[in-house]
């Protein structure tokens, strides 16, 4: 008898004109000790399914309208979770079924200590005293490998990093030894090295406790790492269910095949020095050579340093060394990827170039002109020549302005056209990014995430820039959309000769798009060089760690993480008198430079 046996599940939410069904006839089984991955893009109904199984759906406004959720409880009795009373469900949540959610930053109560939040479930379901429950909480923190567990019990969530918080969430979920754990995108918000740690931890604990695990994710790499069986969902329906091996090797449903094709695989271009757009399965990648090496660089940074003061009262308590003597160049038609984990300074570097942050020292040259000290003439040129595309296409468009107005704004600002010519230019730009001229009259909320990001790109193109800084520009998009937008960026590069500073944490996408890669760690570039050299023969230990942590969407290549360390990246916050050491990088190959000095912390 399976642990969980969902049959014909329909889920609906109330809508303006009657209920709207979001999951249709879902079947799902999970055996004890088995990991089933549910994959699909946003809106496929995978998270709602998880909420239905735990019946947290009741509190989210949804309703199970048909079907059964068979669950074998600890006593061996078969229960139908779709029919259980709310009170009976409450006794099952925790000791029988537990959940880990996507956002570790918001999933813990900010005003309660970590110890209290873990102990709560233990006291409730096992009737233990507070002291005994706290002792158990300490044991659990040790089990999820949080160092110095005793002290962490009294700390609050805001004092912990994202990775630590997600470990605490896992400790909470496991506190009553559940038989089924549902993890909803548990590592999506985490950095790649932290993700690797958390995935390994979950696998180990699952083996130890013999739990059934439902792993909800959009990331095929993570699926390949974790799952025994895969359920692919699209528009609220299961389109394919299969064991991991056959599913990856020979997907039956076209949607599964499309998903797998859209997933960038790190190492796919290891024999190819040039970037190449995504292609369908079976087609050959067409590398594109767009760099004009003979021309003068569009962007030159020389020892650019940006720091942020941290004040406590009137006293200077410390400084965040966000960017420390960053030097790099980008040639016309070239894509330089700036990679690293959160807090490494890659975004600050990008923002410093267009002066969303003011660098403390260093030289910035755009098309050969020094713009380190802004005056009204070179500011205008800088603003026109360099454009920014941000991560969140929802937040970076004004909801009260039409798409056309947003795109026309830079045209007016830089006086590139007047009168009816503006309209024509907006329409041309929309067509250029794969949208229709009539989209100009729409508002941002009438468009999907992928379309909005295209609008942001069109707006960036409006001032005819020579460089676009794309800061995690595809990170918030679903895989299939992400592949399309990446291809669009590369197509524009081929046609317009654009240069990109491509800021990203996603190594597999970086491999696709970039000619050269710069790896940042604690505000410094620790390795920079041709993409093939940096990825194929990483010289800096941090680069190696970063690359090793990337999940590979190939089930045959899993379990490579057993040697990974559990250490955290140290903080770029330093005492005011403690200036980090920066030394020139050492050339190890043609155009390939690496830091040989101690950067701080581990390396």
């Amino acid at each position: 008898m399976p642990l969980l046996n969902v049959r014909g599940l329909d889920i609906a939410f109330p809508g303006e004109h009657g209920p709207i069904e979001v999951v249709h006839g879902l079947d799902l089984t999970v055996e004890a000790g088995e990991t089933v991955a549910i994959v699909g893009e946003s809106g496929s109904g995978k998270s709602v399914t998880a909420l239905a199984i735990t019946r947290l759906l009741d509190h989210a406004g949804g309703r199970i309208t048909a079907g059964s959720i068979g669950f074998t409880d600890k006593s061996g009795a078969l229960r139908d979770l779709a029919q259980e009373s709310p009170e009976a469900m409450r006794h099952l949540r925790g000791p029988e079924i537990a959940m880990v959610f996507q956002e570790p930053m918001t999933s813990l109560n900010p005003v309660l200590t970590v110890g209290r939040q873990i102990a709560e479930g233990v006291m409730l379901h096992q009737g233990r005293s507070e002291a005994a429950a706290l002792a158990e909480a300490k044991r659990l923190l040790e089990a999820v490998r949080i160092p110095d567990a005793e002290r962490q019990l009294g700390r609050y969530p805001f004092q912990l990093s994202g990775g630590m918080r997600q470990r605490v969430m896992i400790a909470i979920a496991l506190s009553c030894r559940p038989r089924l754990l549902i993890a909803d995108e548990p590592t999506t918000a985490l950095d790649v090295t932290v993700q690797a740690q958390v995935l390994r931890l979950m696998r180990g604990l699952q083996r130890e406790l013999g739990m059934g695990l439902i792993f909800i994710t959009h990331d095929m790499g993570v699926v390949a790492e974790m799952a025994d069986r895969v359920v692919v969902m699209q528009h609220g329906k299961v389109v394919e269910t299969n064991d991991i091996g056959p599913l990856f090797a020979a997907p039956q449903h076209p949607y599964t095949a499309m998903l797998l094709d859209a997933v960038p695989v790190l190492g796919a271009l290891s024999d190819e020095p040039l970037p190449a757009p995504f292609v369908r399965r079976g087609e050959a990648a067409v590398p594109q050579d767009t760099v004009r090496r003979d021309a003068a660089p569009v962007l030159e940074l020389e020892k650019v340093t940006t720091r942020f003061d941290v004040r406590r009262g009137f006293r200077l308590a410390g400084r965040i060394h966000a960017a420390e003597q960053v030097s790099l160049t980008v040639a016309p038609g070239e894509t330089l990827a700036l990679v690293g984990e959160s807090g490494c300074g890659k975004t600050t570097t990008g923002r410093s170039i267009i002066r969303l942050e003011e660098p403390r020292s260093g030289t910035i040259r755009v098309n050969g002109e020094d713009v380190s000290r802004l005056n009204s003439a070179n500011e205008k040129r800088l603003r026109r020549a360099v454009q920014f595309v941000f991560q969140d296409p929802f937040a970076s468009l004004d909801p009260r302005l039409t798409i056309g107005f947003s795109i026309a704004e830079p045209i007016h600002t830089h006086k590139l056209a007047t009168g009816p010519a503006v309209r024509a230019r907006v329409q041309a730009l929309l067509r250029q990014v794969g949208l229709l001229p009539e989209h100009a009259n729409r508002y941002p909320h009438e468009m999907s995430g992928g379309q909005r990001q295209r609008v942001c790109i069109a707006r960036a193109l409006a001032s005819e820039p020579s460089l676009i800084i794309a800061d995690e520009a595809v990170a918030a998009l679903d895989v299939s959309i992400r592949a399309q937008v990446v291809n669009l960026l590369m197509d524009l590069q081929a046609r317009l000769g654009l240069a990109y500073l491509f800021i990203s944490h996603d190594m597999a996408v970086v491999e696709r798009v970039s000619h050269r890669v710069a790896v940042m760690y604690l505000g410094q570039i620790v390795e920079i060089g041709p993409r093939q050299a940096v990825f194929g023969d990483p010289q800096h230990p941090y680069t190696r760690r970063l690359l090793a942590a990337v999940p590979v969407p190939d089930p045959a290549r899993r379990n490579r993480h057993d040697g990974l360390d559990d250490s955290e990246v140290p903080s770029p916050l330093r005492r005011p008198d403690d200036i980090p050491v920066v030394a020139p990088l050492v050339e190890v190959g043609p155009g390939h430079f690496v830091a040989r000095h101690q950067v701080g912390g581990m390396y």
């Binding site: 735990t54 989210a60 956002e103 900010p110 005003v111 709560e120």
Partner: protein, 306 residues
């Protein structure tokens, strides 16, 4: 912590200075002549002028202000123009009744406001929620003098349960505190409700449910504790409203407090009393908000530990 306290207390000095400049200027802009009021309607121009010289009222206004500041620096509030009693004595007598009135009004406002707000937040959309919110809007809309008079008519004139006014036993507090606090209670109820509903949608509330925490625990431990954080800030700001409202309510219920003293002093152009009182109101407001900020740290560890 000590550093923080000292810094905050030092921060009140410029506030009080600014308040003193404004009250001094505005009081002197009022039409009417205090010298004539003191000397009486029958007095000759000569007598009035003598009074004016005695009171320094013939000096330039900046000179009067400097003298006033000098007195303040020695904690000397001067004497009332009207009664010649020391201002400190006048205010001292009236201080406690007003303090107790505002405190009990606030206690009532917080209990009723937060209680109703949570009730509405839990039962949002239900009939209890809708009724309470209509009541809350009414609470904001009724002017306090009207509410006070209606209460007097009902409970004192018809039912004869409570005294019409005055100060002394607990019965004297019931209607004034209710009248003064109702508007604030209504604001608090609406604010608590929306804060509660906002927090109820947070991820960590879902986490609590996923642990199998009973609804009571979800409401009190996980939702309300977080929802109270902005409510506390609002409480401090509403104290200013109560201090202003006390002027009306004290008049309606013949309450021997600072509000009525202020009305009397304004009518008589009793400059020293007006100035001292307004300064006291400002000081109270600043101190109460300091206490509120300290309380804020108590419920919000992020503030306390940073």
């Amino acid at each position: 912590m000590l550093e923080y306290l000292i810094r905050r207390l030092a921060g009140t000095i410029p506030v009080l200075l600014a308040v003193s400049v404004f009250t001094f200027a505005f009081v002197h802009l009022l039409p009417g002549d205090p010298a004539r009021m003191v000397a009486g309607p029958e007095a000759s121009l000569e007598q009035v002028n003598r009074v004016r010289t005695e009171l320094w009222l013939d000096r330039p206004i900046w000179e009067q202000y400097i003298r006033y500041l000098d007195q303040m620096a020695h904690f000397e509030l001067g004497r009332s123009i009207k009664t010649h009693e020391p201002v400190s004595k006048l205010i001292g007598e009236r201080f406690m009744p007003t303090l107790w009135l505002t405190v009990w009004s606030m206690v009532w406002a917080v209990i009723a406001g937060v209680g109703l707000g949570v009730l509405c937040g839990v039962r949002r959309g239900g009939w209890a929620d809708r009724t309470a919110m209509v009541a809350a809007i009414s609470g904001i809309s009724f002017p306090s003098f009207w509410l006070g008079l209606m209460l007097i008519d009902l409970f004192s004139v018809h039912l004869r349960w409570l005294p019409t006014g005055g100060y002394g036993t607990w019965q004297h507090f019931v209607m004034p505190a209710f009248t003064l606090g109702s508007g604030v209670a209504a604001v608090m109820a609406r604010f608590t409700r929306s804060a509660f509903i906002e927090v109820a949608a947070e991820d960590y509330v879902r986490t609590a449910r996923s642990k199998g925490v009973p609804e009571q625990g979800v409401i009190w431990t996980h939702t309300l504790r977080n929802a109270l954080i902005p409510v506390i800030t609002l409480t401090g700001l509403q104290f200013g409203f109560l201090l202003g409202g006390a002027i009306v309510v004290e008049t309606v219920f013949t309450w021997p407090g600072l509000g009525r003293l202020l009305i009397d002093s304004v009518n008589f152009r009793d400059y020293p009393v007006i100035q001292a009182e307004i300064l006291l109101f400002a000081l109270e407001f600043v101190l109460i908000n300091l206490i509120v900020d300290l309380l804020y740290g108590l419920v919000n560890p992020e503030i306390r530990l940073k």
